[in-house]
Amino acid sequence: MGAYSALLPRPASGVGVPPAALLATAAAGTLLAATALALYWVPADADQGFSQRIFYLHVPNALTAYACFAFGAWKAVRLLATGDERYDLECHTAVHVGVIYAVLTLATGSIWARVSWGVWWTWSENQLVLFLVVFLFYCAYFMLRYSVAPGPQRARLSAVYAVFGIVLIPVGFLAIRLSANFIHPVVFTAHGPQMAGSMFLVFCLSFAGLGGLAAALYRVELAGRRLDRRVRDLRSVR
């Protein structure tokens, strides 16, 4: 992280945004605490037993992926509204971090499905298929991006695509709740979280840790992309 510290993007205001190293340290500490509590403190689930502890990793990962995509869409809207190309890099970075979290969601979910349902994947579950659709949609974002020459047109096309993607998230949430036949558990309902207080506490801690880690990864990756642009600019003027 030492090499990164000099690269941290400075916010326009210069105050109020913690640096990536601080975020990463806080996130690592929070995640370690959440993992220890998830594995050794919270009571075992009555239905699923020990395997339910994957929940504390899987669900916050999915929510963090959604948050990254939403953040990317917000940056895309800013780009379309202002035409400022720095939002293009920020949107691209947010979507990239979101895709990594989506990969983690699919991987941990698959492991959980194997131990709980006896299969790595099932096509009969709307929740799973819709999340896969969201994931593939954002993978296609990169295909679109790299198929167009760099410039304002690519930035605008990518931004419009990222804004459309955000529509898939509420569809995914609603579909599982409107579906009458599913085996995927629904923990958060209109009546609030359906779990014990200790479980919800560890869930929140894990979500905070993963959110902090996403923020740190975003800042580090954005710094790398800005550096990459600087290298290109230096080479172009030679």
Binding site: A3, Y4, L7, T35, L39, G49, F50, S51, R53, I54, L57, H58, N61, I100, V103, L104, A107, T108, I111, W112, R114, V115, L213, L217, V220, E221, A223, G224, L227, D228, R230, V231, L234, R235, R238
Partner: protein, 46 residues
């Protein structure tokens, strides 16, 4: 170790592995770019 414990451990290790891989790839990329910037700036100054 029970079957459930094995799968839970695997899930947490997969998470750790992916995050570490991401950090290693980004570290290598930033180090390469830093070296490129330093070299280009030095060549410009000469």
């Amino acid at each position: 170790m029970t079957t459930a414990e094995t799968y839970v451990t695997a899930a947490y290790l997969v998470f750790l592995g992916v995050v570490l891989l991401y950090v290693v790839i980004n570290s290598a990329k930033v180090a390469r770019l830093e070296a490129a910037v330093t070299r280009l700036e030095r060549e410009d100054a000469e």
